[in-house]
Symmetry: C2
Subunit: 248 residues, 2 copies
């Protein structure tokens, strides 16, 4: 059984304000939740799942976590997905990483607004071992249920913080900054040294002019065909694959 | 004014069956429609647009095309988008290309089911000048309104066909076939010769075993981090960027 107030509470976690207030986020689906239980130090407060899921996975659930067995129709009422998942978990949000020390490749995101794109970018960063993602304050929230879903749970593994990007860039004047632009040097010719920053901008407006400090290295993905631009998640992925390959 | 039967007809074009029967597809939004008018040989049968859009763009519209001036609320009723576009066009579907001759890089898609992913892949192919996309019969339809939208109109520029992929591969035994798999040779070390085929599989199941003919070259994107897989559109994009760079 799930109460009306529980349904209301979980649905409220679709809003950033409620998530930030309680420090709680919603993870859905067997893959994401079992990974959290198996591998993550994050605390899971409560699990709502089918009896079948609980029978299969009950041994993974720590004692401190409350479990509610629900029917599929009840799970559907709690879920942000189109098809009801077999399990939904309320997870304590990870603390943002300290952004004072940098190592490896950090991805800087300027105004990425599409949740699906942001989730895909986080998943790609997890694949390439990006050390952290630093987002402008107006980038979509990484703990939006849609972002969690499209990140396939990578949001719980990759350190992500929100800050004034301009200030962040100024605070690290000696770290090479590569900015994705249409008129830069071909990424296929770039040799980068770690630590470094890769800066990717908004889907339609690109990188904000004010972030292009002197010494910035403009980079681009060579185009052969006719598309005017690439999807932000696709552009980030291509640039990360080349940077992580060339980086020394 | 738009009649009820027109609304019903346009909404029916959300289904592949109706699109195939009439050979008509729906293009929405200023960017996609003006590009079609400016650059494409495709025939536009009818345009529904705000008076404002018609005043700005009327000179682009050929005489054979009917134009209806509508209020925003009426356009919303016709549209497949969340926010009403300023223009909607009914376009004659391009003929599928002949797949008998191959040149450059052809992308072979096996069971790509997510329309957003398919659209993003088509847009990326347009960027990299991929010569054609050959889809398995169970891949999402390229002229689904969601695919058209996420392709940003590239679907009207890149030749796309649907066929039995296994048969297609067998018909071109001498063309090198690169298949995206988790256990292949790192793409960063591959030198490919054109013409060639890049085969990318389903989001969760990967490439079908039956398509891996003898002599197939398995390729992979080197992983540093912990994500189990990459989004199909992201993986296609990274592989295309490396293949198109190394290709001779």
């Amino acid at each position: 059984m799930v109460t009306r107030s529980e349904i209301k509470y979980i649905q409220s976690l679709g809003d950033k304000k409620a998530r930030d207030q309680d420090g709680v986020v919603v993870a859905e689906g067997d893959k994401i939740v079992t990974e959290l239980l198996n591998e993550s130090p994050l605390q899971i407060k409560k699990i709502y799942a089918t009896q079948h899921w609980i029978s299969d996975n009950g041994h993974l659930i720590p004692d401190a976590c409350t479990v509610a067995a629900l029917e599929e129709e009840e799970l559907q009422k709690l879920s942000f997905l189109v098809s009801p998942p077999s399990v939904i978990a309320l997870v304590l949000k990870p603390n943002p990483p300290s952004v004072n020390t940098v190592h490896g490749i950090s991805l800087l995101l300027d105004q990425i607004q599409d949740p699906g794109n942001l989730g895909t970018i986080i998943r790609t960063c997890d694949w390439f071992g990006v050390s952290q993602i630093v987002c402008s304050a107006d980038t979509a929230d990484a703990f939006n249920p849609k972002v969690i879903q499209s990140s396939m749970g990578s949001v719980f593994r990759v350190p992500i913080s929100y800050t004034d990007l301009n200030q962040f860039i100024q605070q690290h004047p000696t770290v090479p900054l590569y900015a994705a632009l249409l008129d830069g040097q071909p990424i296929t010719n770039v040799q980068c040294k770690k630590p470094c920053f890769l800066l990717v901008g908004n889907e339609s407006r690109g990188v904000s002019e004010k972030l292009l400090r002197s010494g910035v290295q403009k980079i681009t993905i060579p185009r052969v065909g006719k598309a005017e631009s690439l999807n932000a998640a696709v552009a980030s992925a291509i640039l990360l694959s080349w940077l992580s390959q060339s980086a020394t």
